[in-house]
């Protein structure tokens, strides 16, 4: 089993062959499922904790303070301590809450995030499902989460939760359109919905460079709509702290609250990862046409570092505008989508089609 940091295809292939040789196909597949599941769970838990830490540090930097510093060196263990605290907290349920739906909601939210993460290519060979309709699948499963949010708001028997959930429902359903349409713009350009093929298509130049104007418009629209879909500031109406206490998760405590919290950060990761994959080349290193030596140096950096570098860059941008902008109002948020982003998107998709037809791209 040769371990190659640049390409995990052989590694995953060898594991598969090894399992298939020693077990029956059914058992082998089951074991593979378990391995993949555990790896994703670990990854999400660790990366989610890291993102919480990163968010606190980034926001501290914007607010001229240090952020967590006490627990561990530079406060590195702070989020772990917080998470342990959340695990040990008592689960409190409102008396008149709908028992079944109330308990179901956090799982729905987190399942949607898990489903979405499975199609993302982290590095060559590090992708658990490679559909030919990957983009379509991703937009489909990522909208399941809103059901969880609506259920949480409805079943909590709290008016703030209900208002928050309704806001969130209206917001996510609207912004879904923009997310899908801006992804569709890039699908028109790439000519495929398969994530691995989309990444492969960016070998010579990332789509944001080769698709020039329409790609940049689509990128900006995707960032705005993606932020809205993850319920993050300045679109955090659903949990608007100063208006609705904590919105749809007001009545949740302990581990169930932690699930909502974690789902928010996983969604942040997913949106950034999709932006990085579709617009910024995924794990593909930065290549410039015929600069041979430059391209060679770039190739030297392992693909998964490229991928996470790009993802963290996008996450930083999203955090940046969370900590600088005031929150929008509910009618303004819908106006922004239906009156501005959607028409821009429709025109943009046409523009992209024209670009592709006239071959006016790099």
């Amino acid at each position: 089993m040769a371990f190659n940091i640049y390409d995990f295809t052989t590694l995953t292939h060898n594991i598969h062959v090894g399992l298939a040789e020693s077990f029956s196909p059914f058992v082998a597949t089951t074991i593979e499922w378990v391995i993949v599941g555990v790896v994703y769970l670990l990854f999400i838990a660790v990366f989610g904790l890291f993102l919480v830490y990163a968010e606190r540090k980034v926001c501290a930097a914007f607010q001229q303070r240090l952020g967590p510093m006490r627990v561990g060196p530079w406060g590195l263990l702070q989020t772990i301590a917080d998470f342990i605290k959340l695990l040990m907290k008592e689960l409190i349920m409102p008396r008149k809450a709908d028992y079944f739906l109330y308990n179901l909601a956090p799982y729905l939210v987190i399942i949607a995030s898990f489903l979405a993460i499975s199609v993302l290519p982290f590095a060559p060979g590090l992708q658990s499902m490679d559909f030919d309709i990957g983009v379509f699948y991703l937009t489909a499963v990522s909208s399941v989460g809103v059901i969880g949010i609506l259920l949480a708001g409805w079943s909590s028997n709290n008016k703030y939760s209900l208002i928050g959930a309704m806001r969130s429902g209206a917001q996510i359903l609207s912004y879904e359109l923009s997310v899908s349409l801006s992804l569709m713009t890039m699908v028109v350009f790439a000519g495929t919905m398969q994530f691995s093929a989309i990444v492969e298509g960016q070998r010579d130049a990332w789509f944001i460079f080769s698709g020039h104007v329409p790609a940049i418009i689509a990128f900006v629209v995707f960032l705005v709509a993606g932020t809205a879909e993850t319920n993050r500031g300045p679109f955090d109406l659903a949990e608007a702290e100063s208006e609705l206490v904590a919105g749809f998760h007001t009545e949740y405590s302990g581990i169930k609250f932690a699930m909502f919290f974690l789902a928010e950060y996983i969604n942040l990761f997913i949106i950034s990862a999709v932006a990085a994959t579709v617009f910024l080349g995924g794990w593909m290193p930065l290549h410039f046409g015929n600069l041979e030596s430059f391209n060679h140096v770039m190739d030297f950096i392992p693909p998964f570092i490229w991928f996470f570098g790009k993802v963290l860059f996008v996450i930083f941008i999203i955090m940046w505008f969370k900590w600088t902008f005031p929150r929008l109002r509910v009618d303004q948020i819908l106006t922004l989508e239906w009156k501005y982003l959607l028409p821009i998107n429709l025109v943009n998709i046409l523009l992209m089609a024209l670009v592709v037809l006239t071959k006016f791209h790099f």
């Binding site: 914007f62 607010q63 703030y160 300045p234 702290e241 208006e243 206490v245 600088t324 005031p326 509910v330």
Partner: protein, 377 residues
């Protein structure tokens, strides 16, 4: 079931979409224990009914049992962000009743402290306003600057919030030798930081969208409800006590009364930002010219006000603050009434917020700059 059927048959409107929400007494946006009974239709606010009294501490009644110099210490606890102005109102009222003329030095120092308090109060208001709109970064910018003012207070009179620096006849103590230098340094520093406030929040598109045309309060309504201070001036109601009934050192300085005729939330925002610039200019005019002399007039050990009624008003950071003392010649007042700006301002909320969204209600409430102990006393 039959009721619903009846309603449907008679084609009446089902009253299912109006509901009541209790905002407070524990709610992140009410900055204390204020309870608002909000009637909502979806997101739309139909009616706001403020219920106060959750932090009522009976200050006015307590004042009847204690002597005048002691009353000053209770006024700190009302509007804790304009503690100095509240102190001064009582001190001025007692001085007026006893016909004591305080030295110019006292007047100058009082005015400087007034304006420093106003700056600190407006800074905190700015932080909290941003936070209510969801821009959390403002909070730390404002507090960073306010902290330095509190340091100056601490050095001058030993306390950061409840200063109790005034006393009938003057001040508790003279200013610290560093006072002038520190204030000047601070102004120099803050003049570079105040434009940052504008950069971070004032010009922001989202802020303008959120605030312009929202929470309209006409001049007539402002006068009817008695909305004073920056909130009243944003409705074009010229109500600056410093200008109309000058006290302390305000007659000696040149400053503008900031008026705005747009009457909306953004106007109230801008009036306060501009007032900070005015406060800086007032302090700058006074700080180098503090006359030498005593920091207090020698007063009797036990102050007895002559029989009669006395009223003194000052401009606190939230509006007109008044002290009404009825004396029967004893060492404590027969009856004492505070006219607190927050109380009048709060009850204009219903007028302003009706018809807007929940988010606007929070923004409007924030621009009124409510301090709950000031309302409940």
């Amino acid at each position: 079931m039959s009721e619903i059927k009846e309603v449907i048959i008679n084609n009446d409107r089902l009253a299912t979409d109006e509901y009541l929400v209790n905002m407070g007494p524990q709610h992140p946006s009410t900055h204390g224990v204020l309870r608002l009974l909000v009637k909502l239709e979806g997101e739309k606010v139909l009616n706001v009914q403020p219920h106060s009294g959750y932090i009522h501490s009976g200050i006015e009644k307590m004042c009847e049992a204690i002597s005048y110099p002691q009353i000053i210490h209770l006024t700190d606890r009302m509007d804790y962000l304009s503690a100095h102005m509240n102190n001064e109102a009582v001190a001025l009222c007692v001085e007026k009743a006893l016909q004591v003329e305080v030295p110019d030095r006292v007047k100058y120092i009082r005015t400087i402290m007034d304006e420093l308090s106003r700056l600190a109060s407006h800074q905190l208001w700015w932080c909290v306003f941003g936070m209510d709109l969801g821009a959390l970064t403002t909070f730390f910018y404002g507090l960073r600057d306010r902290e330095l003012i509190l340091d100056i207070f601490e050095e001058t009179c030993g306390a950061r919030m409840t200063v109790s620096y005034n006393t009938p006849g003057g001040l508790m103590a003279d200013i610290h030798p560093n006072f002038q230098k520190r204030v000047k340094d601070y102004l120099k520093y803050f003049k570079t930081k105040l434009p940052e406030y504008d950069k971070l929040l004032s010009g922001n598109v989202i802020l303008k969208e959120r605030t312009e045309g929202i929470g309209y309060l006409t001049k007539e309504d402002a006068i009817e409800y008695g909305v004073t201070g920056p909130s009243g001036r944003a409705s074009g109601f010229s109500c600056d006590v410093r200008k109309h009934v000058p006290y302390s050192a305000y007659p000696f300085v040149k400053f503008n009364e900031i008026l705005d005729h747009r009457c909306d939330t953004y106007a109230r925002y801008e009036v306060r930002i501009k007032e900070m610039y005015e406060s800086i200019s007032i302090i700058e005019q006074l700080i180098d010219n503090i006359p030498a002399g005593d920091y207090a007039v020698k007063m009797k050990g036990v102050l007895k006000l002559p029989e009669g009624e006395f009223y003194q008003r000052v401009e606190s950071a939230r509006g007109e603050f008044g002290v009404f003392i009825v004396s029967d010649g004893k060492k404590n007042p027969y009856r004492l009434k505070f006219r607190s700006p927050g109380f009048s301002n709060l009850f204009a909320l219903n007028k302003m917020a009706t018809g807007h969204k929940i988010a606007d209600l929070v923004a409007i409430m924030s621009t009124l700059d409510l301090i709950i102990p000031d309302i409940d006393r």
